[in-house]
Symmetry: D2
Subunit: 298 residues, 4 copies
């Protein structure tokens, strides 16, 4: 649990599958999904994030999700905190350190203020209380808090326990350029991979996001390291239409879970209310995209 | 814990006082504040609401706050839930039922969707799991969710376990008129009492809000029942400048806590980060308002 | 049209009355309303602001409104610009200078960026093109732009042509304290007068806002100058319930116009779509408030 | 000017180029850009939209832009209105009908209310006053107004003068499916083409958006008609990374203008304040994307 920077590459953001009828956490599907991530060779996993529907889980369910993930793969794990204030965030990170132990690569904490000094204090307090390395997530769509990239860099520079930034305040490429120029901390793109090529070009360490074909994210990042823009473009191109399809506002999570279901990686695609399910009118187009991607993979 | 409608009158929204240096929960101040509410004769207390800074408390602190409140007065208690999704709301309400027991007059649950059917289902699920009567809080500034008064009434009509609505979506007077015309459920105004006269005229059952002189809220509501508009106006007028002063956006909680401190009801006026403290430039004006109100009271 | 600071006091924000059936500009009512302002001795008038529904008027109607106002009183006039970009703002200010001539006390321009340097450039460009003194309106609810008080002060300090600031970003009292401490420019409160006492205490030069009894705003400001807080409180108290009633979100303009109509100052209280009319459920309470205020005045 | 439905295909949204030093409208560049659209065979042009920076142009500049566009190509023209209220929208549409005459395929009017009846009345009033066919633009990011797809369809069904809908409320594919199922009106996607494949699958009539290689939009739409999903995918794939790059929040217009400049279609890439220019950190990546697309085209 030392504050080591996150390793570059793809950190798979893990969805929380639910059983069809009762919407309980589906441990078997979760294990299968995590196993898939493991087999394709992602760098690590991110659990209990926005796309893991963490805000819609009970405390017992959060613990159960962590336990399944820990048991299903040997990968390092980032655990998200849903609260935005110090005391309850410490509660959440304490649970993560207890369950995940040495495998905890970082606790993901939201930017909760535009003020870099207050943010630095919040991060210091969470680390002091838990010992965890911190992944700072800048996601204004979810938090309603907008910080400038310069102020975020200023906060990150002051806090030694920061092990990564997850940059999800569009436009992300210039923000990532600012953050990597000013801090030594690895910065990951998110937002479903819509800007992955441009985030890598801006200096990102990889992707930390959900996508039904994480193979595509990995192919892109690996190719970037190996051959730069042109290689990454070629590796990613076949996935991009599905990436855009899954990144649709409000319904993206439902679309992604349905794609995972059709791939056979989870058994049910339900999302908890009040989130919206995938509109039936998109079903056929999802099939087309999945067929096109499977074509690419073969 | 039967689903009896909340009694009309003033439900005092209890602030959570912190100790000066470490910002721990200040149990002695909390007990003193609750005792004050009790002595002035409010109908009941509302704990762990927005103005109780519930989202900035750990689970242990929430429990401690409830225990102090339960021990410090014999009043019925409404307990707020900060989460907006069913499973974690049930966690919070379960804690409230456990600690508050028969004194729990209602669990306060946020409107988390503009869809009346989804809202009704969320309320039904929380009641089914906990047995608690429900106070539905409509507070879009905090939740980001805007529901029409008609749709809110439609949801409330369908859910037997609703014991009250806390209407905090401005403009509240016409919303309260719609809700009281369409449901038999008591509706309380909030928002610091800025519109209390107009909310009573629209049919509200009283006030459920924080104000450093809850005596003023009670005087107004009692006078309304006794003598209608003119009596309530005369009773409330002397408090109104301080009501407006305390209702300032973003800093209202800090101003109110400082007013409580100057009244001697709590020992420290700190608010937890990232909330803002009271700007120093307001200190003198707060003194003027407090002096004017004390003048009214004598 | 020299850039002289606005004189302190009450600047009456003029509503645009419409005829009942066709919702044409009602020149006779407008003249009557302006004449009333003149007779009660306001310092000046503000025309084509948000509460004048300027964004819902055609170019010909804007000109007509200005002509009626110019002809109906000898007061100095501030004219609002609805656009937020330099070129169309210059169009609007040019119309104001053409029609209002020497009586133009200032052109009111919106804060359109949180960046003080960009804001200063916008103000300089408007002044360079038109010669008009500028009233800078900071009204994030309308523009969606949030600037800090410090940054607004920085912009104002750099631009000689600024003749006043209209501070409508809550909480306004600390913002006004910052602005008056850092600039020599008069700052006026708005927002219907809800915080007038506190704005005066923070150093405001008066009120620039709509209220159906501008007599109350004037009584308050005059009393403040004469006797400070206690005098102003006494002068304003009787108006405050109606002030709060008229300041209701979204429907405030409709309520205010209906109050003006019941006072006999305009013939019809219609607002142009898609703005909402006054809900019928508020009619009786408006009568009570008006009767109470008339009682105060006699 | 009869209310004929817009022809399907690509409607090129025309940027307004400015001269480098003084940021005057650059008529020569505008003519060149329009000529390019004409030569590649777009169905029509959309002028004075959001990406034409219409809200930052003076009335004289708007007229000049329209005149240049009319003189530079024989294509049908949609003209955007920036205002959201009936009277000033009528002013804008009247200018469009005067300058564009018989070539006016539609006046583009914003959704300005979530209420379908009020929206229908607004559209009827604009048509009654101007005779123009109407393109209804649903763009909540710009207007702040969110209408459901069902309510938008209800409004459109009631107004005969609607010739098209421009659907820019994400997620657009299900909204387009709803609109095309319920109305006979052609619906166009926008938003830079990020969802073009999915919008076509949902039944859209094509694209009405800005993109530095409108050739790509046209290739995609033409291929869709010819060969469905697979053909459109193949045609569009090479453009998609640049599409995503240009669709970046806040800086998208600046990126797109710089791409147009590098292509030689306009002389300067300046955007008017307070809009942001393209961050320098993106320059190299833009070159890579442009080279990759030119590779595709050859």
């Amino acid at each position: 649990m030392a504050a080591e920077p996150l390793a570059p590459g793809v950190w798979g953001v893990v969805a929380t599958p639910f059983t069809g009828s009762t919407q309980d956490v589906d441990a078997a599907s979760l294990a299968k999904l995590v196993d898939h991530y493991s087999r394709i060779g992602v760098t690590g996993l991110t659990v209990l994030g926005v796309f893991g529907e963490a805000v819609r889980l009970s405390a017992a369910e959060k613990r159960a999700v962590l336990e399944v993930v820990v048991d299903s793969a040997d990968l390092p794990i980032v655990v998200g905190a849903s609260s935005t204030s110090t005391a309850p965030v410490i509660d959440e990170v304490a649970l993560a350190t207890e369950v995940v132990g040495d495998r905890l690569a970082g606790a993901m904490v939201q930017v909760n203020t535009p003020d870099p000094e207050l943010l630095a204090r919040q991060l210091d307090a969470v680390h002091a209380a838990t010992g965890a390395g911190l992944v700072v997530q800048d996601y204004p769509l979810v938090t309603g808090v907008a910080i400038s990239a310069a102020d975020l860099a200023a906060a990150v520079e002051r806090v030694e326990s920061v092990v990564a930034v997850k940059a999800e305040a569009p436009p992300t490429p210039p923000a990532i350029a600012t953050l990597t120029a000013r801090t030594g901390v690895p910065v990951f793109g998110g937002l479903g991979g819509v800007g992955l090529l441009d985030e890598l070009a801006a200096g990102s360490a990889g992707a930390m996001t959900g996508f039904s074909f994480p193979e595509g994210l990995k192919a892109c990042v690996d190719a970037w390291w190996r051959g730069g823009y042109q290689a990454a473009l070629e590796a990613y191109l076949g996935y991009l239409p599905l990436v855009n399809f899954e990144a649709q506002a409000r319904i993206g999570l439902a679309v992604r879970k349905e794609a995972l279901r059709r791939r056979g990686l989870i058994s049910g695609s339900g999302v908890r209310a009040p989130a919206s399910g995938m509109p039936e009118t998109l079903a056929e187009q999802l099939d087309r995209h999945l067929a096109a991607v499977e074509n690419v993979e073969n």
